[in-house]
């Protein structure tokens, strides 16, 4: 493939960032908005072209026609920084099923958000938000970084863009920088993910030290032609053997490869908000809602999943690391779902739902084994990533529309909006159905595949995850009813009745709703698998339906329907049931409502321990002990010179005395010696 289009895909958002960042403040608001949106639109089209070429052109670069295996193609790869001859950071463009998939996801959502923001970032009177141009610049920066991340050809390139998405997320969360809560949220997000990145970095260092390379293709694939690679378990086994034959293959009872993989996964945990590094994501909702939709629901937060998927053949080599992923994912999924049931702020409900859904993907990757249906879990995880991106972005954008109309994040200020905002109502409902896993919406298929894969691995986790799926349906419909039903909407005196938003905001909702309805039918098994091999002989519109494991599907459908019914009973009309529930289980409710006190724990660790017990004492030590020693030396010198200077009294007669005595002694000594 010619590298022109890929280069433009990366360069265009970067150019937009530079142009809007440097000259944006001189532009008129609509110009900046249109420019940013158009730039992203072009990028989206180019990304579609690239992805379609990859999946459907049948080009031998991209697919091995004989074995029906999709290949990895390095479109270009430029040396950026050479540490040693073999350890070289390159900036390149790796095209394979998952990167092509992510290209589509990112550009689509990003374009929707760009479009949507034209409406969102001004108030009801059409007055533009301050920093509107800056907002678009940051969005472009984020898009650039995220695209760079997914097409990375080596792990260090990924780390570079990993950091860049972190920074752009920081800038966007803190977009309303005069608001202290936004500032502290952005700070928290950056520092928590930074801490995770430390693990990622160490993982990279360990891995690269033992293998002498950063390239993904060297870890997981074999070269079949120049620049074209094929995923192979053999290469990963070679890596494992290389580490086992090295001087120190074990460290503290686990193999070095496990350490490296777990450390790298730690980076993923940070970005993907897995417990216990999840605390930044709910706070990140302080950012503008389109940002939450783009970064904190659809794209950046799945980077961790993407990272694990990217190194999946290596993870396969170490059972322990996959088990860790499953455990972390399953715990996080349940935790986040429970917390989501009790939140008041609608964005926070969605944030916890995001955490829970990403945990689904993690579990799915963790349970994937090549022996079971060609690594069904891997495919399911990626599938869920795709569908989730669509319906979660939809939900967030709906939430944005609601917040924009009401001016508050709390559902207590909403209630009964279904008549006032019909489009938002319908699209939100579609989103809820999709995430709850109701056939035929997108979430049903992907979640069902995940549950099938989990069942194939272990029954315990299957039951666990089904429970979480039920909870998901419950809290989503709780939210839905509390926003759109519960009781009649009361318009505060002096306010307009809330209404649907301008087309720039409703159009993305409709598009995403349509996609959420249809995305489930995409024959993913033929597009994205762990080793590129196609799952099905032939595909049609109902391939996914035919491939369903109907036992699992019917169970999960039943669970979802029961959960939705429960939510309907409890929340459709104003009734005392919810508060009764709350009073029946006060401790559970309190813990969930306070998110199991994780934030308090972190506050304690950072403020009391890091600041109070480390930084302050160190600063004191520095001022008083280290510097005190220096000042003390100076003081001693000064005091002793004061003491000595009395000898130099200026009294000439004393001097003569001393001189005389000296001379006499000298004379006496001479005399004695001569005698």
């Amino acid at each position: 493939m010619e590298p022109v289009i890929p280069i433009i895909i990366l360069a265009l958002p970067l150019t937009m960032f530079l142009v809007l960042g440097l000259f944006g403040h001189k532009m008129k608001h609509p110009v900046a908005g249109v420019l940013g949106t158009a730039g992203m639109g072009v990028t989206m089209v180019l990304a579609y072209i690239t992805a379609f070429t990859y999946f459907f052109s049948g080009n031998p670069e991209f697919i091995d026609a004989d074995t029906h295996t999709r290949l990895q193609a390095i479109v270009f790869n430029v040396d950026w920084l050479a540490f040693t001859d073999s350890l070289v950071i390159r900036l390149g463009f790796l095209l394979d099923p998952i990167s092509a998939l992510l290209l589509v996801v990112i550009t689509t959502i990003s374009f929707m958000v760009h479009l949507y923001s034209n409406g969102y970032m001004r108030d009801h009177h059409g007055v533009w938000e301050t920093g509107f141009q800056r907002f678009y610049a940051f969005l472009s920066l984020f898009s650039f970084s995220m695209l760079g991340l997914v097409v990375a050809t080596n792990i260090f390139q990924m780390y570079i863009f990993w950091e860049l998405v972190g920074a752009s997320s920081y800038l966007l969360i803190g977009f309303y920088y005069t608001k202290p809560s936004a500032v502290s949220a952005s700070k928290k997000a950056f520092i928590v993910t930074r801490f995770a990145d430390l693990g990622f970095l160490l993982g990279i260092l360990v891995l690269s030290f033992y293998t002498g390379t950063f390239n993904f293709t060297d870890f997981t694939s074999t070269e079949v032609a120049e620049g074209v690679y094929r995923v192979s378990e053999g290469t990963a086994e070679g890596i494992r053997a290389m580490i086992q034959n090295s001087a120190a293959p074990m460290f503290m009872g686990a193999s070095v490869l496990t350490w490296a993989l777990v450390l790298i996964f730690m980076g993923g945990m940070g970005k993907s908000a897995m417990m216990p590094l999840h605390i930044w994501l709910p706070d990140a909702m302080e950012g503008p809602t389109p940002v939450s939709a783009l970064i904190h629901a659809a794209t950046m937060v799945v980077a961790g999943v993407y990272l694990v998927a990217r190194l999946f053949p290596l993870y396969l080599m170490e059972e322990a690391s996959l088990n860790i992923i499953v455990v972390v994912g399953a715990l996080t999924a349940l935790y986040a779902a429970m917390v989501a049931c009790t939140q008041i702020d609608i964005k926070r409900v969605l944030a916890f739902s995001t955490i829970s859904q990403i945990a689904f993907m993690m579990v799915s990757l963790g349970v994937a084994r090549p022996e079971f249906h060609h690594g069904l879990g891997y495919m399911a995880g990626m599938f869920h990533l795709f569908t989730h991106a669509m319906f979660k972005a939809l939900l967030f954008l709906c939430a944005g529309a609601l917040i924009h109309a009401i001016g508050s994040n709390d559902y207590t200020a909403m209630h009964g909006l279904r008549k006032h905002m019909p489009i938002t109502h319908i699209t939100f409902l579609i989103g809820c159905l999709a995430i709850a896993g109701i056939i035929p919406f997108a979430g049903f298929f992907s979640k069902d595949e995940i549950l099938t894969a989990t069942l194939g691995h272990s029954t315990l986790w299957y039951v666990w995850m089904s429970l979480v799926a039920g909870l998901t349906a419950f809290y989503m419909f709780r939210l839905y009813y509390l926003i759109f039903w519960w009781k009649e909407h009361k318009v505060p005196a002096g306010h307009h009745a809330p209404h649907d938003q301008p087309w720039t905001m409703t159009l993305p909702l409709v598009i995403l709703a349509v996609v959420s309805c249809l995305a489930g039918f995409v024959p993913f098994g033929n597009l994205v698998t762990w080793n590129g091999e196609e799952m099905f002989e032939s595909v049609s519109f109902i391939t996914n339906l035919k491939a369903l494991d109907w036992t699992v599907a019917s169970v999960s459908l039943a669970v979802a329907v029961v959960a939705i019914l429960l939510a309907t009973v409890m929340y459709k009309k104003e009734n005392p049931l919810p508060s009764k529930m709350k009073n029946a289980l006060p401790a559970l409710w309190r813990w969930c409502h306070h998110r199991f006190y994780w934030d308090e724990l972190y506050m304690f660790i950072t403020h009391k321990i890091i600041f109070g017990c480390i930084s302050k004492p160190i600063a004191w030590f520095d001022r008083h002990i280290v510097d005190g020693t220096m000042d003390g030396i100076a003081y001693v010198v000064q005091r002793s010179s004061y003491a000595i200077r009395t000898l130099q009294s200026g009294n000439i007669q004393k001097y003569v005395w001393v001189y005389l005595i000296g001379a006499l002694l000298l004379g006496a000594v001479t005399a004695v010696c001569l005698m």
């Binding site: 540490f83 700070k187 260092l205 890091i610 930084s615 520095d622």
Partner: protein, 500 residues
């Protein structure tokens, strides 16, 4: 003598000094300062181009543009010059910072004397980087140190006399150690009966310092330079000194002068006494490893902008020495990159702090807030400097730190690993204190209503800041160019003695 391009790095500042003496008003002084610093920039740029061309043409000598002119025969002291990639990198850094510093002190009081001392300081700095004669090097080193006392004592703020005294005395204490070790090196510079020399290249060629003497001289030399490189526990001059120094002096001091320490550690201590360096590195690795984290933690709770930055310098300069002590090509390259990167970004920080302080008349972050709204240019500059400091890709800090980490990781034993991990963990702590100060200073609501009247940067301040930002970004975006410039220097000879 005057046919050697390197000499002009000393001559131009001296000419500028003469020029200042002749100037009649501030306008002319600024004109001289700008002309001179542009000339220095042009010279270093030209040197870079020419150097690369020579290397491309197949020059393999360790140092290029060598020349030697004796000025004190009985002790064989020469003005010996010569540069390699490392020195050129340092020369470029110095000229950029002198340029930016001139603009940053556009409206200083008593400009004539200020600039004269500043340029005397720069003469010392440039002289230090071009010479390969230990004694001349030491002389230039002292020339660079002394003006600092007057510059801080005269144009400083706060407890300036105390700080100036402390800074000068501590650095002088360091140079006492240094002088001792340099003389020691001189008397072992040649095999029995040979002509003694101060010339670094000849000394390294002779390799005649016995191991016992190396054990004695290396720690002294390393500590001597380490004091200037803010090595724990000899760093306390840095917070006080920087806090009281005027803007351009802080820039030059943190940006360039502290690099003299790192450069000296590399060029003299490691280069001439590699065996001792290899054996004794662990002692200093502990100290520098500690200072990386220690400086970062200290910075977390400071409330004075300059103290924060000074402690961050302790952390970052600790990283330089830490990497030097790793003794392998990658880590050494990283060390030099870190010197470049830290020089530029800390100069940027100090420039911005000076500009903010010039407006708000306070450096206490508790008394400021929401400045981004009031002075967006300075705010954005500060954020960029902060991002460079915490190692955002695309800016210089990332490149340098990653090179250091990868290089340090090449040592597989437990000791090195432990300290590498400790050093790595500083990236988190750095993020903590940088974001803390950015959040308090620039974001949030405006703390003091008087600040609402303040203005954004003037054109000369903008120029100064933009120069530095562009340099930081250039290193961050095209690291391979700089790394290859530096890397060639670490020819196998350095590692010959220690069998690496």
């Amino acid at each position: 003598m005057f046919s050697n391009i390197l000499i002009y790095f000393v001559i131009i500042p001296l000419l500028m000094l003469a020029g200042f003496a002749l100037c009649r008003n501030d306008k002319q002084i600024r004109a001289v300062a700008v002309t001179g610093s542009i000339a220095l920039m042009a010279l270093s740029a030209w040197l870079l181009v020419d150097y690369l061309a020579l290397r491309k043409a197949g020059e393999t000598a360790e140092m290029l543009y060598t020349g030697s002119w004796e000025w004190f025969g009985p002790l064989n002291i020469c003005l010996a010059v010569g540069v390699d990639g490392v020195s050129i990198a340092m020369l470029i850094l110095s000229s950029i910072i002198v340029f930016a510093g001139s603009f940053a002190s556009w409206k200083i009081d008593n400009a004539r004397h200020f600039f004269m001392w500043l340029l005397l300081l720069s003469t010392g700095v440039f002289g230090f980087f071009i010479t390969v004669d230990l004694f001349t090097m030491f002389m230039f080193y002292e020339v660079a140190l002394i003006p600092m006392y007057l510059l801080i004592g005269q144009w400083g703020t706060g407890r300036k006399e105390y700080s100036a005294m402390k800074l000068t005395l501590m650095l002088m204490g360091g140079s006492a150690f240094l002088m001792l070790s340099l003389i020691g090196i001189y008397y072992h510079s040649a095999p029995e009966g040979g002509q003694l020399t101060w010339n670094i290249l000849e000394i390294s060629q002779n390799a005649s310092i016995s191991k016992d003497w190396q054990y004695f001289l290396f720690p002294m030399c390393f500590v001597g330079f380490g004091v200037l490189g803010a090595m724990f526990p000899f760093h306390t001059w840095s917070p006080d000194g920087h806090a009281c120094a005027p803007t351009a002096v802080s820039m030059l001091h943190a940006g360039v002068l502290m690099k003299l320490g790192g450069y000296g550690c590399f060029r003299v201590a490691m280069y001439l006494m590699p065996e001792a360096a290899n054996d004794l590195a662990w002692i200093f690795l502990i100290l520098t490893g500690v200072s990386v984290v220690y400086g970062a933690f200290s910075a977390c709770v400071q409330t004075d902008l300059k103290y924060i930055n000074a402690y961050s310098s302790v952390s970052h300069c600790g990283m330089v020495l830490f990497a030097i002590l790793m003794i392998n090509t990658t880590a050494l390259t990283g060390a030099i990159m870190q010197m470049l990167s830290h020089g530029l970004m800390t100069a940027l920080f100090f420039a911005l702090i000076g500009m903010i302080y010039g407006r708000t008349h306070t450096r206490d972050i508790r008394l400021m807030g929401g400045l981004m709204k009031i002075m967006p240019f300075l705010g954005v500059g500060y954020v960029i400097a902060g991002m460079a400091s915490l190692g955002l890709p695309g800016l210089s800090g990332f490149v340098a730190e990653m090179t250091i980490f990868v290089g340090s990781f090449e040592h597989a034993d437990m000791f090195h690993r432990t300290f590498t991990v400790i050093a790595c963990s500083s990236i988190v702590i750095t993020a903590v204190y940088i974001l803390r100060v950015v959040g308090k200073l620039l974001f949030g609501p405006v703390q003091d209503e008087h600040h609402l009247q303040l203005t954004d940067a003037t054109w000369w301040e903008r120029l100064s800041v933009i120069t530095l930002i562009v340099s930081v970004a250039a290193i961050g975006c095209f690291p391979n160019f700089f790394e290859s410039l530096i890397k060639f220097t670490f020819s196998p000879e350095i590692f010959r003695a220690i069998g690496l």
